[in-house]
Symmetry: C2
Subunit: 327 residues, 2 copies
Amino acid sequence: MTVLILTCEEDVTADMVVVHLNGSGVPVVRLDPADLTDGVSLSGEFVHGCFRGHLSAGGRLVSVNGLRSVWVRRPGTPAGRAARPSAWLTEESSQALYGMLRGCDARWMNHPDAARQARHKPWQLRLAQRCGLPVPATVITTFPRAAREFAERFPDLVVKPVSGAHPQDPPRAVPTSRVAPDADFSAVAFGPTLLQRRIAKRADIRLTVVGERLLAARKMAAPDADPQEVDVRFAAPGAPWEPVEVPPRTADAVRTYMRRAELAYGAFDFAEDADGTWWFLECNQSGQFGFVEVETGQPIARTIAEWLARPVPAATPEVSGASSTPR
Amino acid sequence: MTVLILTCEEDVTADMVVVHLNGSGVPVVRLDPADLTDGVSLSGEFVHGCFRGHLSAGGRLVSVNGLRSVWVRRPGTPAGRAARPSAWLTEESSQALYGMLRGCDARWMNHPDAARQARHKPWQLRLAQRCGLPVPATVITTFPRAAREFAERFPDLVVKPVSGAHPQDPPRAVPTSRVAPDADFSAVAFGPTLLQRRIAKRADIRLTVVGERLLAARKMAAPDADPQEVDVRFAAPGAPWEPVEVPPRTADAVRTYMRRAELAYGAFDFAEDADGTWWFLECNQSGQFGFVEVETGQPIARTIAEWLARPVPAATPEVSGASSTPR
């Protein structure tokens, strides 16, 4: 049984996981859907009530029914590097590849539908609330008046994008920034705006979840930090990331979140306040983990490899025998 | 409790359903996400462990928590008609709108994730096989040799797209066509190709499923039909669509399909052969139904309206009380 990794060639984080899989002797096929149909080939047959599918990449042939897990890391656009790329070829290739993989019994990290759902920030906030995680007061609105009223109630505010990175080429991360409560909110009418009560944080928390395993790291805020620097990704380098215990209640809530979101991997960001409370900021279902592993020595790549290497679950029982259907 | 319909203005099929909802006094809000943020506004607040959301369209304000169902018919691209449209504004608007709706307790016809999954033809074929529906022998391949071998085994063939309509503007349906078994299959290497054993059909079957209700119609093939015309959408007009009973075994299999696909609405296409067997061709989760209703008099629009009007299910229980979380 093979592990299939869908990612681009330059993904060095995937390399870290492949090393562990190779070390334990688990067969791995790594391919980039962008290389369809030049370098990557596929074939699937639906005959006599059965399905037989194959993928070929780098001269290796793998059976779709023989996959134990699929790791969707950073795959390129299907057929994006074809000799004559087109929207039509991308659509056909995407449907063919993912349509076949969706029908197999392999375990997913993460399933494409769970991944898509998990990217929605408003959905994340609601799920976190329901799982009992503390969520800073937030508004997402196109009503300037709603923004103004929110700023009156919560004058210490940050603004951040509703979605993730800006879709320019290459994509650009939009930093979280502070907003003055007397700001002019009239432009809110032109696009949804996310305002959130700023958490006065003493540390950033990155909690990486792999299956049932929780690996948390803390980065203390510098005592003399610029109060305008609220986004750890853009702040001046300060204290290192260090391993930290997860409070039991947070651990329970996070596991509930992962289960309801049907995610096998998630990177949670929390802000730790002066009382030690971890405030939920977001869960990135494809968050990077290399920088945490390097600084903390936490075995994230190995844990992912172990999850991917687990045996495949028993196949879904057929409703009626294939042999009883007409040919 | 309100029914929310997401569709474009020119969708006359939705009008047929709205008439029934209006007739039964159920509140309806219809909006096109393309009209964000000019005509459609939204606002959602996540405060004190609770969520309060609102949508505004055509001067009407509706509570997101007060939605009983969401009908995703033919919605436009979010913010597609904004004064200054952009990929960034579309992404922000999409995440804000669907992110809020995904967090509510309304019933979906169909949920966006189920809809996306259900569009994958290879996944459809596999699920149909597993549910016990007869599926014509099919291959989807980029290997010319696999195509050639398939054509030797099944010389009476059709070719059709793996995905749906061609993404030109306006989108164009690609007809299913017959292929000679001695065709040159070398171009298969440049894009996934779907070949399928042709069913010698005496009738086309359209089976519309709304919740648990099955409404089937049959259109007999003309005895003098051009054997090259295999796609009913492009064939010369012949016999009318007429209501037909669903064979009990097919009904069971179709209900299983709908349940596993988590669909509330689906339009199945079958080819009926000389033995009366219904061969599964596809299930379109957003298939049109107006033409069937007009020709057969089957109450599809009313059945959809009744499904949408059903009371909302009980809310998901909270894992821990909102009052026990920090503010």
